[in-house]
Amino acid sequence: MIEPRRRWWRGPRLRLAVGIVASAAIVATVGWFWYGSLVPSTYSVMDMGYVDAGGGPAGGHDHAGGTSVAELTGPVDGTPDVAVTLTARQEEFALASGEQVDGYTLNHTSPGPPIRATEGDLVEVTLVNESISDGATLHWHGLDVPNAEDGVAGVTQDAVPVGGRHVYRFRADDPGSYWYHSHQASHEQVKGGLFGALVIAPRAGTGGIEVVAPVHTYDGRRTVAGYTGVQRVAAAAGEQALVRVANTDNGTLRLSVTGAPYRVVALDARDLHQPTDLTDRAVRLAAGGRADLAVTAPADGSAVRVDFGAGAALVIGPSEAPEPPAAELDATVDFLSYGSPAELGLDPGAADRRFELRIGRRPGFLDGRPGLWWTMNGRLFPDVPMYLVREGDVAVMTISNSSGEGHPMHLHGHHVVVLSRNGEPATGGPWWTDSLDVEDGETYQVAFVADNPGVWMDHCHNLPHAVEGMIVHLAYEGVTTPYLVGGDADNQPE
């Protein structure tokens, strides 16, 4: 019998060939995604991602000509009504209640000194960097300042190196509660204490007791204006106190007020219209957001308590009143229907631009690292949208979130008004915000007026997420930035 000739395409040689091809395919695919994800160490935000003109005119994304961000400054002349010098240091410090923290200070304290101004004042703040080796900047969270004063390293300025200084000048146009913080390596520096409160009082004044309450958690210890534990604020029976709460942490803050009804009179430095009394309802305050609470000490001489979670609280009332027990309320205020409607000042129906921001999550590589990363409109950083507007445009943006967790979205330089949530229209006092908590599964429709030219960041204020690329930009036609992320100044805004 003649043995049939071995066919080369059967048997072990084929197996080997298939094995090599399959392995090469796996390695090549993984390698291709890995390589494609790498981000250069120095780049301009103007080159990042893609431009989304929202259905409006798309011209003017020039690299030459047009206006530079560096020209969009605050008032150059004029004697400041409020002049402050803040010296930033990297050092160990003690909280007001005594605990030691290794972090960052401004004028040797954290929180840094509160900056107070009155509506209309010209404010001048000089930032001096004495010892922060990574550099530092100051950003005025919620204050819609001219772009060059926004303090974002790599976008509106270079980070201030050790030994350097930067002068910020802006007019305090909108009264309300704000806070300031570094926007260089912000996830580290804000956490480490480089922040402070900023209060702009209305011309008529507020009268009565005012408590400025920036909340910050240092190494697991929650503080209110620098103190852990329970603090007492002396108030006579029936006296009202205005508590200006700022959430400087990465997570949502739950404010539980017990002992008396209270009202939320302002959110994110915008007064609410005809707010009503609240009982047994907490305020969920987004990271970066501010809530002004009008709290009245009960007429019977007892005290009212504001709980901030993790053992931090304010007890407001006569000093001899017993301390009410700690409380954490489950029910929350829904700002979609709180207060009563008022003029928006813009017509969303006549929007010039319609934008969409879909927040998600998927596996992939982020600058070479494998993991499950945040996506903005389906794409990973740096392939994120840059929303283009022209000065004067009315823009409507639909923000939806299917990423598995909530995100506090913060747009610089502008306030947005909430039009609807999950299709339900807003029926309360106009909900103007600059730090909006978009929960998993929610869709918000918001509108804003493009009245502040520049290149503006719009990012998650759970800062570690921003580091993971949860960033988009709002850019005005004809405006470019000469600054670079990375570069000689080693700018790292997040």
């Binding site: 197996r15 399959a22 392995s23 958690t217 697991g220 979670g309």
Partner: protein, 145 residues
């Protein structure tokens, strides 16, 4: 090649055991922290146990299973490619469960159970490779005639 396959499979099974150890460590670190008066919040650094669990689960074990799959093409272990693919599928399932459990914590139960399934399959694959390397001597039952 068979030995490489065997060791990769075993490392994956050991990796699952380490994952359980890491997450228990991480949880106890949290309870210790809380007992010390500290709050565990969005602002807290992940504890060492949680960080290791994330590193091994997100990077090291997936890398090992990809290597196991590649090696399986050349190792000539009976059913080796299928077992590697099954292990890969279970690792993918485990990672997906790890992330969808954040908004839906009850799914964490499946993440826990799947860990045992994954360790079992990886261990079995390693055993199969071990048999193929050194088969037990068989009684000769030739019909010699």
């Amino acid at each position: 090649m068979k030995a490489t396959y065997q060791w990769l499979a075993r490392l994956i099974a050991i990796g699952v055991v380490l994952q359980a150890a890491f997450i228990a460590f991480g949880m106890f670190e949290i309870s210790n922290m809380v007992g010390d008066g500290k709050a565990f919040t969005e602002d807290s650094d992940p504890t060492a146990g949680i960080a290791l669990h994330g590193l091994f689960g997100g990077m090291i074990i997936p890398l090992l299973v990809l290597l196991m799959l590649i090696v399986s093409f050349f190792a000539k272990v009976p059913g080796g490619v299928q077992l590697a693919l099954a292990t890969l599928g279970l690792v993918v399932l485990q990672v997906v469960l790890g992330f969808v459990s954040a908004p839906a914590p009850v799914l964490g139960l499946l993440h826990g159970i799947n860990a045992f399934v994954l360790a079992g399959v990886a261990g079995f694959a390693g055993g199969r490779a071990g048999q193929a390397t050194s088969p037990a001597p068989r009684a000769e039952t030739t019909a010699a005639a």
